[in-house]
Subunit: 349 residues, 2 copies
DNA sequence: GTTAGCACTCGCAACTAAAGAGTGCTAACA
DNA sequence: TGTTAGCACTCTTTAGTTGCGAGTGCTAAC
């Protein structure tokens, strides 16, 4: 059964109303406030169909309908009209973005700030990462039986190393295998590709080596890569969560902050997202912790060689059209700003 | 009227019970659980006295008593027996502190982490600051009518500068006066003394200059000083707030986060605190936002030349004895660690 | 196919009642 | 005179109870 024009209109009205009020939407409300020219009873019938088709849900028998993730996905893909920002809005945003900003890393930070202010959501931004450098090899050099120096060499000749403490002693042979394995998996990858890669499965047979890799070596590896990439994560608008009805329950707020607090995880997940405007809704986020949230990210580029991300995280009930417009406007502006100034980093000393 | 031995014991019991349970304490509870050998009625009489003396309060007529800030202050000053950590506890903490830490800045970060884990409070730490360098002069160099370069020169010859955007145009004369004023006030002060200083009052007569100073120049000045001092603020255990009954109300939690979120403010306030173990209870904190909180900080030293802070923030109802012991143990350990390794910062590159 | 009407469900807020914890006071006791 | 038992009283908390309102689903009429 395909969605009729009318069903689409009703669904759109329900989404619009629910996004605005956060309350389940009843048939009368739709009939009254959206001029569809049909009675509540008819709307009820259509709603019943939409529910059967999986676009609506029912908190309980006698309450209005709530859009499902499937509905949001349909909305985002098919129904959402791009909300053009007015010239006034644009210049207001631009003023906020550029005012008093002298260093470009500050611009990224500020973009996250502006984004959170406008959307009333939690915003984040990744500072530009050097995209083109690729890994040459990884080495693990034993110092004593529980201390290892992790060394990463890139094709451009950059060398980074960090000291890693192991939770249990390890013999050189294991280290050699690990290093070989890592080199095999990572070499030729760009630094940011390496960050996206999940090589743990590649030696699943050796549980012990995997555990050590995962618990001790991987964190150091990621951190070093991030340093080489020179990526910074900025977050803003964390407090906004408190004004969202979905999170009025303290337990929900708590679990939201538990996600948000693991900066490394967030960073890795952000880097792993594809380029361009990406919207993931509820369960589409791999992470079970994010199954109540939607995440919107977009990419900005600098000379095609460096790349950063900007986005928001919030409840699935969000103003997708507004948020995407603002995110797009901001990423465009950042890209432009980097072009004009050529990445000047301010001065000190 | 002086506090009798018995009143002290009752007060101590009330504090102990309230700190544990967060519930107002009744006379029966004290009689039953603390072997004072007196009946509830007698305890009620004593409580009544203690309330009149300002050590206890009464949420409402028919509920138990709650210790006042005055009571906590008395407890901290006179009654608190130092809680010696057991050898087991010490080694457990030390293990957590040192395990897997290779760089000393990580040690500070880790200390904040360990502290929050043990106390279940929000912990913070300031990385070591170079204490001895003093300011020579401050200069404000106009670039255009709204852009100024703020330059700070220290006696050791270190120069830092930052570009500041002004909210309104300013003439050179004003800048000259401002710079002269700042130099007059700050020169000869160590960097951290400068951070503590409040010079705004020194030109209160010129409202406009003050406003500009406060809104535009001061933030840049502080940030630059912090950079010169190389101070970092680490925070941990922010989430712990959610398990404290006092903050089960979402509005309270929100306002707590609003305080915590202003990192610069916190940093400045921490730096301004005296050295040694400092406990401020409720209203003793200058900041009205902190009037429900107690703050405990202690200082660690490196060669007497550098100095950092470690502490917690939580509800006035906290285990002062435990927290002070742990804070002390940690600061001692950090000081020792810096002595042994001589401030080696790890290696990279 | 659409709509009016109606019985029904469910959540929510207001209200009531009872229980429980604790106090303050009085009078008796050692 | 200090201590204690007893008792009336206060106030909060919790569990029902009730009524209202929003909304549905079904049926029958248009």
């Amino acid at each position: 059964m395909d969605l009729t024009e009318r069903k689409l209109k009703i669904l759109q009205a329900i989404i619009a109303d629910f996004v605005r009020t956060a309350e389940p939407v009843g048939s009368r409300t739709i009939s009254r406030n959206y001029e569809l020219g049909i009675s509540p009873a008819t709307i009820r019938n259509e709603m019943s169909d939409l529910e059967e088709m999986g676009y609506l849900t029912h908190p309980h028998t006698s309450s209005g309908r709530v859009p499902s993730e499937k509905a949001y996905r349909l909305y985002v893909n098919e129904m959402m009209s791009k909300k053009e920002l007015s010239q006034d809005e644009k210049s207001a945003i631009a003023k906020q973005l550029y005012d008093n900003v002298t260093e470009l890393d500050n611009l990224i930070e500020r973009a996250a700030h502006v984004l959170s202010e406008i959307t009333n959501l939690t915003a984040f931004a990744l500072s530009p990462a050097k995209e083109m450098d690729t890994l040459r090899y990884v080495n693990l050099i034993p110092v004593d039986d529980r201390t290892v120096v992790l060394m990463i060499v890139s094709d451009s000749g950059k060398v980074s190393n960090t000291t890693v403490q192991l939770e249990r002693p390890v013999n050189e042979e294991t280290l050699r295998i690990l290093a070989k394995n890592m080199t095999y998996n990572y070499s030729g990858k760009t630094l940011s590709e390496a960050l996206k890669l999940d090589i743990i499965k590649s030696f699943r047979e050796d549980a012990e080596a995997m555990a050590m890799f995962h618990n001790n070596i991987m964190p150091g590896f990621l951190k070093t890569l991030e340093n080489m990439l020179n990526v910074n994560l900025y977050m803003d608008g964390l407090m906004n969560i408190f004004s969202i009805p979905e999170y009025k329950d303290i337990e929900k707020a708590k679990s939201f902050f538990e996600i948000i607090n693991r900066k490394e995880d967030i960073m890795k997940k952000l880097i792993a997202r594809d380029d361009g405007m990406i919207i993931t809704i509820g369960g589409e986020n791999q992470d079970a912790d994010l199954s109540d949230c939607s995440v919107i990210t977009a990419t900005y580029h600098v000379d095609g060689k460096m790349v950063g991300k900007l986005g928001v995280i919030g409840p699935t009930r969000m103003k997708y059209d507004e948020v995407t417009s603002v995110v797009e406007f901001l990423t465009d502006n950042i890209s432009k700003a980097f072009m004009i100034t050529g990445g000047d980093k301010g001065n000190d000393g």
